[in-house]
Amino acid sequence: MARVVILGAGVAGHTAALHLRRWLGREHEVVVVSPNSKWNWIPSNIWVGVGRMTRSQVTFPLAPVYRRKGITFHQALATTLFPEGTADDPTPAVEIRSTAPDTAGETSRLTYDYLVNATGPRLNFAATPGLGPDGNSLSVCTDSHAEHTAGELKAVIAKLRAGEPQRLVIGTGHGTCTCEGAAFEYTFNVEHELRAAGVRDKAEVVYLSNEYELGDFGVGGLTFTERGFTTSSRTWTESLFRERDVKAIVRAHVQKVEPGVIHYEQLDGSEHELPFDFAMLLPPFRGADLTAYDRDGNDITSRMFAPNGFLKVDADYTARPYEEWSAKDWPSTYESAAYPNIFAPGIAFAPPHGISVPRKSPNGTVIAPAPPRTGMPAGITARAVASTIRDRITQGQQAPAHHASMAHMGAACVASAGTGFTQGTAAAMTMYPVVPDREAFPATGRDPRGTSGEIGLAGHWIKAILHYLFIYKAKARPLWFLIPE
């Protein structure tokens, strides 16, 4: 009998748990540890943030699904790893602290044969003074943040209706943020709502980003072929900004957010102030900040984790200049470099480096997007990890690992630019591979046949269908496993 403990019930952890439960016999135990009682389809938080969806439409309780499937669920936060066990018991274990209402704060230890760290990102609002819902700006990263933000947007619209001009700033709240796609989506959804409310003329919408240029999206931009021409995602994105009259400030690192004023520095070292009436700024991400001890009680956190709190896996972490970055540096098995029975799919693994060109201001401030790891790679890497664990449990330790490198993986991204069955639009993009491979595709690092972008209502329909499809899948309804990651 083997026990697999999965930390995190987001895209990666939940995918791994459902597949493992489907594949492994009942003599093996699948355990999920996650602090929230509900599962959240994060991409649709954008629509909660403009008041077009409610929190209950983007979440559902996990416990009934896990009960039905035979997965053990602990509503708790993992805090400490003991990958070699302790002096008294050599069985690997993880310490968890309950977040369930009736047992909150109680700690316990779970032993494991395999551990999947799928703890995703920690929203690091603390990196920028005044950033976040506890400070002076808003967020759409969780369903509760998004609900609060929708209320603030409503208040802004009321002021606009009363004839008061308003400046709405949406973007990234630190020079090292990722997920620019989400900020882009929220910008255009807000713009769409302002138009629908008939108050667009009084509102100034500003996109504030750490990208070097529009259309970078943390993947160094894309090159598409359109009507016989190659065009860059920059031109394509700028065209949308022009059409919708959205202003943009790029190459920006937010230094602090004071009530009604954003202070930011740009790559050229200049410092600026931007007054605002409404500001939704994404935080930078960190790992879950787990600590780890060896059998003798020595702290081995820095051996297992990168300084940003993400787990070190089978990537090549040698520091190299941008010109020497290679697709081969990226991990493919997500197996911990220190312990082969620990894995980190999704956002929880430490990337070897960025994808966009790294840049610093003359003051030494890093202003460059961190590499995004969207839902599709999170699901695919989780499935690969689950396959490896299944094989090792059923065939023995020598079973080879399954591979899923982001350098051999495409991504389909649909960025909503406004919702509505006939009035919605979205930018539907595909790229292959996510991490450019300049050896395989010397011109741009990506295959022109797999890289595309298109704006229209069709993209919105796809985004809306994905919402229902992925919630259906996450609820493990009949034939859920036929829906790809």
Partner: protein, 48 residues
Amino acid sequence: MDSTAESIAAAPLPTQRTLRMRRNVPFQLLRFAAINLRMAGVILRGHK
């Protein structure tokens, strides 16, 4: 901000016809099929 503003001002502006086609239901149904096929191709390559 200024260089970005200039670049945005110089970006291609879609014509009214392009904007209409982006919301034209029959045309978008065709695009829906095409985008899905393209995405399926990318997804299948990723799942190999």
